[in-house]
Assembly symmetry: C2
Amino acid sequence: MTQNDNRAVLLLSGGMDSTTLLWWMQTQGIDEIHTIAIDYGQRHRVELEFSEKLSQMANARSHRILKLDLTQIGGSPLTDGTKTVPSAHDKQQINTVVPYRNMLFVTLASAWAETQNISHIYLSPVKDDFEAYRDCRRDFYNALENALSLGATQDTSINIHTPFVDKWKTEVVQIGLKLNVPYAYTHTCYEGLRPACGHCDACAERIHAFKTNQTTDPLAYQ
Amino acid sequence: MTQNDNRAVLLLSGGMDSTTLLWWMQTQGIDEIHTIAIDYGQRHRVELEFSEKLSQMANARSHRILKLDLTQIGGSPLTDGTKTVPSAHDKQQINTVVPYRNMLFVTLASAWAETQNISHIYLSPVKDDFEAYRDCRRDFYNALENALSLGATQDTSINIHTPFVDKWKTEVVQIGLKLNVPYAYTHTCYEGLRPACGHCDACAERIHAFKTNQTTDPLAYQ
């Protein structure tokens, strides 16, 4: 980034990946980091509280919660309380997809960023997401950057940064452990439980990531 | 469109352009037309009532109102009651831009369409919008189509149809007059007034379009 646009917006869900990204961004000499969490009607909306807390802990310049009701779209147990969240051994991760969730989040964040004259958006897809979630792949973000640049109010270049897109969650946690990310304050469980359920797909991935790093997850499980 | 995907979603604001598009689509042999209006906190939200009425008059297969609060983004008098809507002679049309409004609308409509296995989205940018609104240009929609296709849950091709993008509003009204579009039920005024204000940018464009077609707008003005 040049001197003039050394300001960025981060989509901070309050999960492990985006929180690690926030701590990592602080090592990159970015002058202003503005965090945004999206209240989309998620079952695990407890993550919104942790997102705000983590933004404060990192001394981000601002934090806001934007509302975007995806329960009106349906199609996923993450936004539909009547559907069952698949457990890890079901291998049904694709069923948790909320159509265009990341695209809507990035575009909404970009809309706010435009009002602040900010053109750098960060988010944290990781390699583990690649298979089930097509909107976590870099070729998608290249296309989205292009659409956002062409659709901006003024002729400009929008940059979507996904520095962890080629890293496994295990590697992300390795980075975070070195940066002393306060993982006890991150939220992962798709069921929205604290202590965490330990059985859903998200919990299973998290537990695996800590185990591979030969350390203990500071989070409480049921 | 092939036999199998002869179903479409139309973003129907209840304005002249999208209403004409709805009537035009009915001449194109599309089996199912589903209309969507977006409640984005617009000052002229009276258009939502007209959109629903017009969908019914056209016997569309379904109509739904999706909520997407853009007042939380700000930046435009269309979503900020404290800002003044520019009048036509101010030549400040660009100030009415809501950042990424069309991109968010198309993506949200595509999310619902995906749950219905529909891959054709229609909307009605016109040539008059080209100068002030970069998100009304076809090169933007080509980029958006690409992003939507790459970001879809399954490998698929999303088609964004903008049949009026190279037509002036005057030509769109000409088409609509031949198709007996009930223009008395469309809403245009940015101020949200019925009878319409007659002075805002949107009213001025509408009045001009009817005058050029040497006919009288059936709408009441103050």
